[in-house]
Symmetry: C2
């Protein structure tokens, strides 16, 4: 099934079930008022949401309405935890190579992850508001999963059972602020502001064969200002599965229902597939030409992130955003 | 006024107003079911909660009951954001000195802060569950503030107006996991599991004269296994006020109502005041004796964190916890 949130009913929106083709929806408020409430009680809510989804896709759901995907909130407009990974080692390898550094051997066995902000997620068509273009504005197109409650010290096999939803995320990054923050030693803060989520989140069973081994096996398609930017394969060069990433986070804490875990920007060894963030593209240029030629995003620039099935239909709905200055 | 949450009514508990002397409480569910709901609508909820608090302290609140502080949940059992600072530079200076490193000049003008987990806060008397003693279990006694909605790019003066509640936090730290995580460059994750909050959060106006310049001016009293451990002054050597810390976080993002911002472990230049975390004590020993002599916490050890007024009465209620292994 596919789940989304309307921009109505309060800070957490209103839960809707969305048809497979993203054209129709039906309010699920008889089951749970919000997606967070559904995740809080997932074992009870999921079967009922699935039944509503079956009815919607069969054309027999009472109260079904035509959906405007562009008007949706983030499926989780705010959440209790977001931990982002950096699971595509080609990205790490290239960034290190460009500055003449080695990738530590441990990076191939121990996931690189960081605590990110979950206090607010932008809707899929919301503007990205940044105080200054000088901050070096970048997108990062990623896959994200949402868990229900995960016990402390869960193994990857156990963690896999708690991955309930899959979606896309634009992990907005302010490259100009990153070197200073990382030099201080405590990770990202100002350099990683609010991210945007895809219009819908999708259950692994709905994804079928393209969800295998706790990875998504489809290209991440990105465009900047309407121009093709990349189509890196999400299922290729992902060093750690989502089950391994979730288990890494759970080593010393239980995860609360509604926790988001991100893959990191999608990057392949094969650079002909393009990139999923400007930092990656600029690193490829630096290794090839000695310096980057693609600038970071400016106010007025637009981005588009989408994943389509074999027939070309959008699975999660597209993230489509414009970069704007602070009013 | 003083606010707390009962361990009933669901994952977010049930909001109560607590008497000044912490002996009685009254449910505030007629105003807001949970503290998060009150913060979401603070300008409307706060005056009504204040009126209930006045009635409770006057002995005229309907439904007032005798409060068992030890049975409370964290005032916010889960929250959308927690950003922790390291505002006491004597701690940073000593840690650096012990490893023969300089403190960068920028640390005196640019706050050192990190994104922490907010997905679950332990109640004030809940056990600290850790998978292994080998992780180097430590407490960090800190002051924490809670904001309502803060606009992006708020100045410190503007941020000050959004500090609505003040409390204590035990920022549990796993010292054995920190060097490896910081070496990876992306900050803390496994090494900073769930923290515990004090029984009640208190409005700045209720604190009166001991809340000045967006700092708390009282000693942070800590005990380990019943023995005095420290009474460092919260109002001394705090390089950045809470208003400055909140503004630092808000530079590139708005803050959502219910955001927690921590001070970092309380540490003074004057080491006769003791410490607020074992890492600090061990650093003082290393500088004095060449090696640390105080071990980290073991299963069965207990800690107590409290702040008292001039008459010796607890203001926020004490955090009292036992360290236990994972069952």
């Amino acid at each position: 099934m596919k789940l989304a949130s309307l921009k109505e009913g309060g800070r957490d929106g209103t839960l809707v079930v969305v048809s497979r083709d993203l054209t129709h929806a039906v309010k699920a408020t008889g089951i749970a008022p919000t997606l967070q409430a559904a995740l809080d009680d997932w074992s009870s809510a999921a079967p009922r949401l699935n039944a509503l989804s079956d009815a919607l896709n069969a054309g027999s759901a009472n109260g079904a309405f035509k959906l405007d995907v562009a008007a949706l909130a983030a499926p989780l407009p705010r959440a209790y935890e977001f931990v982002d990974g950096s699971a595509y080692l080609p990205h790490v390898e290239r960034v290190r190579k460009a500055r003449g550094a080695e990738v530590p051997a441990s990076f191939y066995t121990d996931p690189l992850m960081y605590q990110a902000t979950s206090a607010g997620f932008l809707g899929p068509h919301d503007d990205v508001v940044v105080p200054s273009e000088d901050f070096g504005i970048d997108l990062e197109a990623e896959v994200v999963v949402v868990t229900d409650d995960v016990p402390m010290s869960a193994t990857p096999a156990q963690a896999s059972e708690h991955i309930q939803l899959v979606g896309l995320i634009n992990d907005v990054s302010l490259r100009g602020l990153i070197p200073g923050e990382l030099a201080k030693g405590f990770g990202f803060l100002q350099s990683k502001p609010r991210s945007a989520l895809s219009p819908v989140l999708v259950t692994p069973d709905e994804l079928g064969e393209v969800w295998q081994g706790d990875k998504l096996h489809l290209p991440m398609r990105t465009w900047l200002n309407g121009q093709w930017f990349g189509e890196a394969e999400c299922g290729v060069d992902m060093q750690f599965s989502f089950a391994e990433l979730v288990a890494h986070v759970a080593k010393t804490r239980p995860l609360t229902a509604g926790t988001l875990v991100g893959s990191g920007t999608i990057a392949n060894q094969d650079t002909s597939k393009g990139a999923s963030c400007l930092a990656e593209q600029r690193t490829v240029e630096t290794l090839r030409d000695g310096k980057p030629s693609t600038p970071f995003l400016k106010f007025g620039d637009t981005l588009r992130i989408d994943v389509t099935d074999a027939a070309g239909a959008s699975i999660f709905g597209a993230i489509e955003q414009r970069i704007v200055g602070k009013a």
